[in-house]
Subunit: 134 residues, 2 copies
């Protein structure tokens, strides 16, 4: 079921400062910042050739990464996103196996315009997993 690693998301308190570190200190290739109000984040992508890093800064009071940054004020690895060929088949298999889907269990349209689901980190060794239909 698990396909390619689509991205690793890193939550940061200050996207401009984090972008500077990745661009200048680490010599990475970054996109311009994109404001995604419907996802409550501003995002910069780092192209690594085989996959990408998403740097996420909270946007608005209801940002889904606000609680994470309250616990980890300097930021940290927030989630990993794996591609799956069929999000509904993946969801049904996971539920059969007893894994918990976050929210109402229905796929939402994610930051790349594709259906996504998030899985409960307590079922996966403390790792928040996003599944995205490839």
């Amino acid at each position: 079921m698990l396909g390619r690693l689509n991205h690793v998301a890193i939550a940061v308190p200050d996207l401009a400062a984090a972008s500077e570190i990745y661009r200048d200190t680490l010599g990475a290739k970054l996109t311009e910042a994109q404001i995604l109000p419907e996802h409550g984040v501003t995002v910069v992508f780092i192209d690594l050739g085989n996959t990408k890093i998403e740097l996420l800064e909270p946007l608005g009071a209801d940002s889904p990464i606000a609680a994470f940054l309250a616990k980890n004020p300097s930021g940290g690895m927030h989630h990993v996103c794996y591609e799956v060929p069929n999000i509904l088949a993946a969801r049904d298999r996971l539920k059969e196996q007893g894994a918990r889907i976050l929210g109402d269990g229905e796929p939402k349209i994610g930051a790349h315009g594709k259906p996504v689901l998030f899985l409960h980190p307590k079922d996966f060794n403390g790792t928040l997993i996003e599944l995205e239909q490839a």
Copy 2:
């Protein structure tokens, strides 16, 4: 400087249980467990096609992931590893930029038989970064 994402490392308290979750619940392709006494871990690799996940279980009392698991008993994302073309050039650039290298600043031979360095998570938004010479 930053090249491909070589792997994402996830620390787990019980490698057999975690392997079962990734294999059976998530349908991932796993290697057999490898015991790496010189690195203080037992490791299982998950092949994602474009990159890999390393599941790490502590081995021995001095395991480098023991402190992380004491803080995160059910496990969690431990580090990301980026490839660089030249580890010494990378190290010198990072030092010039004021970033801190863990340990004595000299590359060690990592789990894949190649020279590696670890960078201080406080300089990179709470993310522990491993650099591996490609």
